[in-house]
Assembly symmetry: D3
């Protein structure tokens, strides 16, 4: 290898200039590194073992050892989550006067406690999701199998964890949690969506549930269902205006078949059944049956 | 950190009560841990290197060393697979009188042998799938590339392995094998489906093939195709009745384009071509050409 | 375990015969192992940290240390990429007279340099993609979040890297790079496709963009969009003829909603909006609005 | 690489013949693999964190979390130790009628319980060793430092664990435990030796304490001290006769300086001080002061 | 496994009571975990690659890339070392009024800078040690080999790093650095010892150099040499009095052969040669030749 | 962290100047990286599993699988060893005209073959060493235990491997092999030493056996024994003259007790017994009994 300044010149070309992709500097004396995706994923896996004991993490649980495993797991989750939340707060911070370290530490600790205190309620609702999966899929041989193997259960668990963090105002971490599930399952649920109990997604690849969506109890979705936005207003700079309601409300007991696309701030009335591959941009009343028009046949 | 009983109280809240998500105890003196996803995946990767020598695992194969690598790989597969099958049998066991350890060991050993004895036949059919991939995709530069890079080949290989285990009555492991492929490729094939030779799935994300589906020879599917169930009868408890035929039969030579949804116990006749994005819930005769009705245009 | 020749007989059954799945031997004195997927992925992650400094790789960058990290990263990328390109050349080599080692080394080195020299330009175009993501999604809280979390950004970055390698004639490696993104995001972009600036894919699961596709500037795609081939001519041996134009041209400013299937060598005119779940096999003029015919309702 | 049968011939040469280094086969239906060094070491590290909480393993212990970590650690130790003890029993088994699996399982379980039940007492004696280290070394800045950094503490802890297992009749595992300490510290204590409380080894490299040695309370050794055997009787086959007393008895309060060699079934009387580099093969009365004869000087 | 409270009772037995081996609690709001041995070792390996570029770390160095690797290595060392020093300060802190976090952060940063600023001087003296190794061992084939393979070089490098940290008042970390070398090489040098240039230890196993030792220039030691303390005064509580001079001064050009034991605050005069296996507790004048008295022979 | 050029200035200070510790550049077009210690250690562990099948590597060997494991192990050893030998040749190369790549490849291949062809003979002599260990230590419960646990066996195996490579003229690699054993066991045997069969080292910490030493059959050494050089002539530059005989010859059947130091080109006659802690610099006739003069006693 001749010694030809190739590398130095390449570094010069890449480090000068204004392409503007480098993360901006910041004057905070307590600036944190970015949240660690790997650590966030470890935390989620730890939570999964605390929520479904014996299915994830140590599987040899007895009445004599279960509390010990639960306690030691929750203890390391608590420390790591607090650290990641603090990093998330730092990531989202844009205050030129920021850097009051005690606040960030305090907020991270308080948020972590609030989140952990909500775990028992989280487990209650997940139990209804397991029931919905077992009752909604004839191929399920037992609730065990749904917990251990179903991508829908994984995605819903991650969503419910992320949603709690989102409600507590944690930046970035909820998104990492749902994107992790998205990567594994192809199911993309925004942490801001609101979803009732007994929720089941079968197969799931390609499902998208948008930020301002609300979903009632006992809803069932199949793969490829989109609950999305149709369009969105821009501000004077051409940037989309944030925080406007723009996704569907899906009422109790609705079933939506594969690849249906439902867009905009519309309502799918209680108990409706939406057939596969339809494009729905208007509200439908309760009890509707919507299907694609019959195809052309040329045989 | 003050020492405030937060953790102890959280453990109490989570370990008491009836949310019912803890894996049930069992009195069997030989109770096994759950099957290990990581080990099952290692086994599948080992099988892939045995079925496609030189493409996976050691790539420097010669006439002088190939048998040694094959033999040592099959030997560790045999031991680990036997162990995982035993765990799977334990997972599915609901016999209150169970715990006859010799039976579980014996069944695991016999099943492992039967499975391994079927590998040469498995390889024969996979060779037809490679041919179908190369001939079915103009972008394929060589059969090598299909073996090494195509997600469809990965998913079909995992399915064919899982299907053999399913036929041998192994619980849970087949599902782990196909879910692993589902996670990587977005292709979800139930281990119970029956699929002929020269099978090709191009791109594949979002494909779903249900448990009671049958697929003939020389079938080609594109991404997003669903071969699913439309509805299913419930028993008196409101639970779906298991084991009823509820998915399509797809005959020889059928091509189904992207995002088509085909539901129910119907037949897609030999040589039919199903266009993308259609919703098909009735049988179609051989030689059919089905396409979505033309869209509305407003330009 | 009795000692019963089971393994030896299985090895005999699998190593004899003509199933033809073993990688063919080759007489080249400098034959290389196959490219390593893990190393290619490490290279891509290294490039991501060089293209988006502070977001990936070391996050504590300052004016004092940034050049050092960039230089050391690019140096190891250079050496590993050269090695993998050489393996790729060997993989694709079918010359019976091959084995002139100096050529492979020289080509690998020259190709690596050309690729690295193009990184500043690659970064310029990625900056437009980040802008498009932030402006195209009301849920995006900052461009930071798009860089760090959006699957579309990951898939486009991998595609742009792969496309540069593809243009330089590197075999196999580009495919590994885009398949890695496909596996994580469900977005399958062929390295041969040509895509303009300000490109945004939202959610993305199930998107397929074919080899001979061209896409203009400022195009936005949603999940499940297919830009594919409808059919392809076969040669006299029944093999598809390679290298024929068979995918759509999508002009500037087009928006395509979820699950739309657009097939064949057609043109989607400038500024058109294609609704979800449609099947389009004919060109549409600029400014078109295409939507699925309204569904059947039975309520 | 030409394909020249080199490997096959080498395998033939190595697998035929009578060099006799292959582990003998055995007909037991429940034959276990060898104990795993890595797992035994993990167990020892787990025990170290249970015996010295806060110094090894998790260091953020509070009154609220300590019991949880202790319990979960002891639980996995229990399961893994039982498995390793079972393998050790199998390793040592030479009974042609063996193979009564229930016995091995039962013995492993009972032995594991006995061992774990002895941990509180083990901790009591280790506390005296920590005190001896702090008081015996002017360079020690705190007892903390002795626990966390001193090789002598590591070696003594491993020895005390191994000695308990040795007394319970566990084969092989105790040896692995002390050899692990030997490898790290250069201190080689046979698990069969008997050693009183307040024991301190400073620096330690090269210390050897033989199988039938007894050491009283408050003894201090420096590096390179040998408490060994001088010779041993052979049986009629020329094999050494096992189990005969052949190492020294060192009484309370003895100090032995570096590199002293003390051999045979002799007694070093209470409170004696043995200087460095001496060769002692006869008993010495209590209170002795033994030093090497002055050196030759030639200056 | 019956569910018999064995584990709970064991935890009670171990967590109650007064054996006193748990790390004491502390009220500091910024309490740090213990220093991490693994991280300290990574830092030392990073320093080794910065001090001996091309021999450790990346070996493909050129004029074009060397500065980049050096800079990125020193940058991560800086961050990790600062963190470990802060933990070390916390470990040693006994101030009931402590907890002024800014001080610990500030001290850690200042100490890290001072240490790193001394690296060029450290490298100068290590270059004299390499020369001494090559010239002091006829078996050395090149200085390269001494750098890359000699345990003496490893131990001296670790000592010189630890000594600089010791002089800066860093607690615990220096000890971890020298104990790591001790574990690998059997050479135990206290970080507080003072050692001149051109220092060589051959083979080295069993060498001990005490805290208050001073060693001149051009000294050569062989394996098993002890430069230790003979005895030490106790305070009124029976604890050894810390910080008193109690180890030898070894003047320039001395050679000490294997297993010699030299104890106490004595002087080995310039240019002396001490033979192996002697016990020396009195000063010797410059130019001495000391050997063990001839052995008894009985042949 | 302020942005203060500290890092840049430190890099300048360390990369400028003449301390001369950077590995010299070299103009060879095929320059190799340094040998990898980790890979060399993997090779040695692979060889250990091939030489002691069932004790290291896979322990579940049967007549049906043993050849497969042996063959696949030897195959990867062959490829990795060839690569490391090539790197070693490059490390030692000082030819200004070097760079004839074909030669290095060819030499590496030929040397690897020669080495592997000698494995059956190597195994024969190791079998005598196992026998010597079992018969030489009353604490050994079986030959199995000696193979699996004894540090002396590990050190002798590494030495015998290294010695074969040394005889074939391989640079550096043999030293890495014996230093690895030295680090684990404290036993330092130079690869150039010549050692007969039935060799046993008990405990072993601190043993040193020099480059030009010869040892007969049936010799037994204890910990701390040095067979070293007393002095060595320098050339006109003050460098030691390489390759001169300077270490002892130890004849058949000699026993040497712990910490004995035997220096220079002398002979220890057949069947002699050398007591511990003696300093021997003159030859002793066959059958000698040498012990340290009795110590001073002051009691």
């Amino acid at each position: 290898m001749t010694d030809d300044k190739f590398l130095s010149e390449l570094v010069d070309a890449l480090s000068g200039g204004g392409a503007g992709l480098q993360r901006p500097a910041c004057a905070c004396p307590d600036r944190q590194p970015l949240p660690s995706r790997d650590t966030v994923i470890e935390i989620v896996e730890g939570l999964r073992s605390a929520l479904f004991p014996g299915y994830f993490g140590t599987s040899e649980l007895t009445a004599d050892n279960a509390r010990f495993h639960l306690g030691s797991t929750l203890d390391w989750i608590r420390r790591r989550l607090r650290e990641q939340i603090k990093r998330g707060l730092c990531f989202a911070c844009t205050d030129p006067e920021q850097g009051k370290r005690q606040d960030c530490d305090g907020r991270a600790e308080a948020t972590t406690r609030s989140f952990l205190s909500g775990l028992p309620a989280l487990r209650e609702i997940l139990a209804t999701d397991v029931k919905a999966a077992y009752e909604g899929d004839p191929a399920a041989t037992s609730p065990d199998e749904a917990i251990f193997c179903y991508p829908g259960m994984l995605a819903i668990t991650n969503y419910r964890i992320a949603h709690e963090l989102h409600k507590l105002g944690v930046p970035l971490i909820p998104r990492i949690v749902t994107e992790h599930a998205h990567s594994i399952t192809g199911i993309d649920i925004h942490p801001g969506a609101t979803i009732g109990e007994h929720f089941f997604i079968d197969h799931g690849t390609g499902v998208v549930i948008g930020e301002t969506c609300t979903i009632g109890n006992g809803v069932r979705l199949y793969q490829g269902v989109t609950l999305g936005a149709k369009s969105f207003p821009l501000d004077e700079n051409g940037h989309p205006i944030k925080g406007i309601k723009r996704h569907p409300d899906v009422e109790d007991g609705v079933i939506i078949y594969s690849e249906a696309t439902i867009l905009g701030s519309i309502t799918i009335g209680k108990g409706s059944v939406i057939g596969g591959n339809v494009w729905v941009v208007d509200s439908v009343p309760p009890g509707s049956r919507i299907t694609q028009r019959g195809p052309s046949k040329d045989q």
